[in-house]
Symmetry: C2
Subunit: 244 residues, 2 copies
């Protein structure tokens, strides 16, 4: 039955070429990545109050601390030692390694620079229900979906470096009450995000060897955009318009 | 309801002291670890034919290659960055890292030293159904059970170093047709197993803070002994008595 369905699908819709496939992925992100979210636009326009910005930092930390979890779940789906040896670096990038404090620590320092004690972030207190649901949804996608979709959901990284560059500029311009040390996470992700997304895109292009597979990868990226968008929806609903 | 049950259990059966708890764990392994399995006794007595030994190496490789998978699943259950930074070392120990070929590669070399091309092992061809089921059972335990049980199931490592020492001696004595280079995996696991089991035991003692938790850890170790025992049952049934 699987064979019949596959043939039918392929008869109806031919495999995209790699560049057509990448175009489909880019089109999803262009329309639905959270760079277009009103809360993000306000952040980058320098319009967030300190309370709003702290609300974002605290809630986004709930997402950040789950990145190594979702990457461990993806790791457990890779049956090739070489692939695991490449993917495991992402876990170290966030958890840290000897001589590198790691992304979670850098985010905690962003919180401290914004006046949020690290124990407040680590406690999970104040994380909004919609943020918890969005993060659970993402982790469960990586837990339950095939490797192709789990890896494709990470392709928002293709668009993160540009977002980081804009964000660093916005923080340096509009949120100078947050010291420069607080921005180390954003700075590091410019290069890490480029390298991670190039590797992930190569895997997705290689693994998606049917049109259905390609479409499932596009859908996974679209789902991940929904996760990030919902996260900002919840933060905007919870903190939007609040002032110190 | 959980609270009521907990109190009832604790009323009926008090928490073991750490040394009583360790004694319970040791008793399970003493009775049921695969050092007592007839196939293992024959291996260490130098009684296996080359065909039997190759059958064991090929099938046990199916277990070995799943160790990083189960460790990635355990990693995904650890919500503490420091714990993950310790546990992740196990994945590198098997998959390898810069300057260390890793345990999977060492097992492939054991195969080659015994006359099994690495492609034969990597293909998975000839892995017995009972071995697949045993390994699936172990991986699913680490996927589905709470962290305490997943980590407790790794405590067979407490007993592995002694087994390795006996095994190295047996191979040097009785299976000299396998070159010394083939034994690197066993040699390395003597020290890695000691360190891994000490760390895991410390976690299990700390996490098992109810009698029910302690009993679940003992049951998890017992289950893991069943996994290893069933694996040898399947190999004994598949290869026992075969000669080159």
């Amino acid at each position: 039955m699987s064979l019949v369905l596959e043939t039918a699908t392929e008869g109806g819709a031919p495999l995209w070429t790699p560049s057509e496939f990448v175009e489909q992925l880019r089109a999803v992100a262009d329309a639905r990545y959270h760079h277009r979210h009103p809360f993000n636009l306000r952040m980058h326009a320098g319009e967030l109050s300190p309370a709003e910005l702290r609300g974002w930092i605290l809630n986004r930390f709930h997402y950040q601390r789950h990145i190594p979890i979702k990457d461990a779940l993806i790791l457990s789906k890779l049956d090739d030692r070489e692939l695991r040896r490449a993917w495991i670096r992402r876990i170290h990038d966030h958890d840290g390694r000897s001589g590198d404090e790691g992304g979670i620590e850098r985010w905690l320092r962003l919180g401290e620079a914004a006046g949020l004690p690290r124990q407040r972030l680590l406690s999970g207190e104040g994380v909004l229900p919609g943020v918890r649901l969005a993060v659970d949804g993402y982790v469960n996608c990586c837990r339950l979906r095939p490797p192709l979709e789990a890896v494709a959901s990470s392709l928002t990284e293709m668009f993160a470096p540009n977002l980081m560059v804009t964000r660093i500029d916005a923080f340096e311009r509009a949120y100078r009450w947050i010291g420069d040390d607080g921005l180390a996470y954003f700075r590091r992700r410019v290069t890490e995000g480029r390298r991670d997304s190039e590797e992930a895109l190569e895997l997705v292009i290689r693994w998606a060897d049917t049109r259905r597979g390609q479409e499932s990868a596009v859908a996974a990226l679209s789902f991940k955009c929904d996760v990030l968008w919902s996260l900002l929806d919840a933060i905007a609903a919870g903190y939007g318009g609040t002032h110190d």
